[in-house]
Symmetry: C2
Subunit: 119 residues, 2 copies
DNA sequence: TCAACATCTCAAGAATGATTGAAATGAAGA
DNA sequence: TCTTCATTTCAATCATTCTTGAGATGTTGA
């Protein structure tokens, strides 16, 4: 997913707060099933009000999504937004500079295709 | 270059400010020769005081480096710090999730090895 | 040593972001 | 419908960040 500069600025701002960075981690681990707002707040030690504030911020930044399910609001990581941010950092911010992209390529390859890690 | 969570939080905070994001772009384009503080400030339309403030912030976050050269302070992009941030985002934050790493791997490959872009 | 230059530091004020607790909304079951 | 539960919204407060302009620091060449 391609994101523009304004979205990237929002996303960087969202990830610069410890509680929110932890929330993203928790939601990435939870996967597509996601977690209810209350569960996310509990997982990171935030009050319900604080959790709602931070989750709204993350959603506005395009890093998480929400859906209602019965009485709960289920939050899930927005993998498109996250990968868009990684791509923005490499392409728009770092201009595809090899010194940035080459190490990143190795890490990405190690992550999603371990058998190709060391060709 | 591997960075820890505190450094990543600092780096995300640094990049969440339009003037600083633009400064990083300018310094990436400038390459290893870098640019004097005044030239960076001028390139992004910041006063000398404001430029100094933002460049210090970027340096503390590990995204740029500085050296004195005659009467100028030359700033350069810290490619190790930038690639470390990309790697942090993929590995520590997104847990190496394929939905994030796979698109990132394509982008990285397209950046630094264009002849392998579409196999 | 002195003047000119590049940059940084400092203090004050404005703007933005985070935390808290209370109250409002919206959905589900008795 | 009424109560309960999950979440959000609101207002107040505090902390952080950004901008500005004045002054300080350090470097160079006359």
């Amino acid at each position: 997913m391609k994101i523009d500069e304004a979205q990237a600025l929002d996303a960087f701002g969202a990830l610069s707060q410890p509680t929110r960075l932890q929330m993203v981690r928790v939601l990435v681990v939870a996967g597509p099933d996601g977690l209810a707002a209350g569960a996310v707040g509990e997982a990171v030690g935030a009050s319900s009000s604080s959790a709602s504030f931070h989750l709204s911020n993350l959603e506005r930044a395009g890093l998480v999504q929400s859906r209602r399910e019965a009485r709960c609001i289920i939050y899930t990581a927005n993998f498109g937004g996250l990968s868009g941010l990684v791509e923005f950092l490499m392409r728009d911010c770092c201009q595809g500079h090899p010194d940035v992209c080459a190490p990143a390529a190795l890490t990405a390859a190690a992550c999603c295709a371990p058998e190709r890690g060391q060709p």
